[in-house]
Symmetry: C2
């Protein structure tokens, strides 16, 4: 199922989580605009298929952290220091919820951010699917800058939530000795500081791809798996029944970039999640987890950081076209260069 690339490339689909995926997308779009991507049309269209398994209902609000991080990042509303949430944010709603004694105020619920959740919640409760809601929100964040050049899709319109099983020594609260918490609570409240004994992907098995998702993979000229979390971001996208099969069948090349550099993630919590899943925490481990399409996996090509060049042999032997290049997304130019390398590697994939 490998391919040389169409020329020029007009259609690129990216499977994205939150911060890492959003930063990669910013670089990719910067690269398209500045013409530094080999063989990519200046009017190439990018479709983002975003993880929604981090989504949660909190304080009566439907919150979609990864969709929002992508929207805010690409729409220039993101707080650049934190990498999530809104610039010039205030936190009075959350302060007051705490003052009322409301639980679950660990979530970083900013005041500006609340407006997004209010709009989304009202549309969801009025019966609109999440994909329509996302399109409506994108009219503010993405259309003014990118027009038809960028489309943001949730992976599914169905409710899916990643939950984490942790040990709990408080046997009054947890007679089994274990407790199940939402992924966001594990990540934000506990800072992933205790082992995740296992993950439960609630609803994922029964979910279906959102409208446009299958076509975005089937009709793409290139599919990119950015340096997002391979378990709880890309892994959940691949867990929507049908998506893995479509990825394996598409005539587009599929290229990925390692979120692990020298055994550590750059953003997020890939290390903890890989450990929990029993996967080797390395650029090779993630590449082999995704696997080559020639052997039942989902990738044609895999990029590791220059410092992980030692991993190339194992990956190549597993059927992947590989390259070791700088993978630190330090700014939009550096990230565009990563995108260029990904496209070059995809072009070399057989």
């Amino acid at each position: 199922m490998s391919s040389t690339l169409p020329s020029p490339l007009r259609s690129i689909t990216v499977l994205s989580g939150g911060v890492g995926g959003a930063r990669f997308l910013r670089g990719l779009l910067h690269g398209i605009r500045t013409g530094v991507l080999p063989g990519v049309s200046a009017d190439a269209r990018v479709t983002v298929i975003a993880n929604t398994s981090d989504d949660l209902w909190l304080h009566g609000l439907k919150i979609c952290p990864d969709l929002d991080t992508v929207m805010y990042t690409l729409g220039d509303g993101i707080d650049p220091e934190r990498g999530w949430g809104r610039r010039d944010e205030t936190w009075h709603v959350n302060e007051e919820l705490s003052a009322y004694g409301v639980e679950n105020t660990w979530f970083g619920l900013g005041d500006r951010d609340v407006a997004t959740h209010l709009v989304r919640t009202q549309m969801i409760e009025a019966g609109y699917p999440l994909s329509e809601v996302t399109r409506a929100l994108s009219q503010r964040w993405l259309e003014p800058t990118y027009g038809e050049g960028l489309r943001l899709l949730p992976m599914t319109d169905d409710r899916t939530e990643t939950h984490v099983v942790i040990a709990d020594a408080d046997l009054d609260r947890s007679p089994s000795g274990k407790r199940v918490i939402h992924f966001q609570e594990y990540w934000i409240k506990l800072r992933a500081s205790v082992p995740a004994e296992s993950l439960i992907f609630v609803g994922l098995d029964e979910s279906t791809p959102a409208p446009g998702v299958v076509e975005a993979i089937t009709e793409a000229d290139l599919v990119i798996v950015p340096p997002s979390n391979p378990i709880v971001s890309v892994g959940t996208i691949l867990g929507v029944p049908g998506i893995r099969e479509v990825l394996r069948a598409t005539s587009a090349a599929v290229v990925g970039l390692s979120p692990i550099i020298k055994g550590h993630h750059v953003h997020g919590m890939a290390e903890q999640m890989l450990t929990s899943a029993g996967v080797e925490v390395s650029a090779a481990g993630v590449g082999l987890l995704y696997g080559s399409r020639s052997t039942g996996g989902v990738l044609d090509a895999w990029l590791v950081d220059s410092s992980d060049a030692d991993d190339l042999v194992r990956l190549s032997e597993a059927g992947l076209t590989v390259a070791a290049v700088p993978l630190l997304m330090s700014d939009a130019d550096a990230t565009a260069a990563m995108a260029a390398e990904a496209i070059s590697a995809a072009g070399r994939a057989r």
Copy 2:
């Protein structure tokens, strides 16, 4: 049904709207604490029956302006300049709703205030009646300061909304030449700048008093009608089927204070509402609208401002015990003095 007052007074019930009622209540409670009210026990309990016909659903949130104004004012959370909403408030949620193109951002929806609405909305949607929700919110705002000494009740747990009929020259939008808008839109967005052709009290006829309301009137030692709007605040409380009858039957004296001074309201929009209802815009007009319990009305005594002493004869002839005293709630001491005058007048009522 008139009475001399029990001694000491242990139980006072107040029918309140928003800003005017809340300021009166602050003075009344200040007067109890400082012992300046004649014959009132230091541990007298105050029950507030608040108008809920201003309530609205906005952006998916259940908002109760009068309940909140009373809570925030008595709980020292109010913005003292505006008289409504929270101190140290920010407005980012509303700014962002505007940026999304959401309609109805004319409502003064502050960020801190949003937390109150989120808590209330979740409880309402979980099935709790408004009276229970109000009790829960009061645990933060009222209990720490007043303990058992203050209880805030909505007039009804049922949904009632005051709507306003206005002329609309845009016949494409309003083929009838008229348009019906929520009272809050009339008041806040239009600043009551166009005539209210009529008022529609949606749901009021079918509402029932909230738990505790009837008892609070029946078992009170004194009922006070503070200087609140006689049409859209006190008028709607009196419009809940049963409340007017209980007021007429209670053994407690009922005393009111005019919200109109020299033909003008001090706060709010009583002038416009009285005009719309065809009532004389004067201290006498409001007193006669409420009427004496000796002739089918709801009051025993009525206070007008010193500057309206000319109205006393008409009011007295209508069966009301009257006094002309300073009615400007310029601070808590002045307001406590008004409460003292109201209690004195109630004691003189026959």
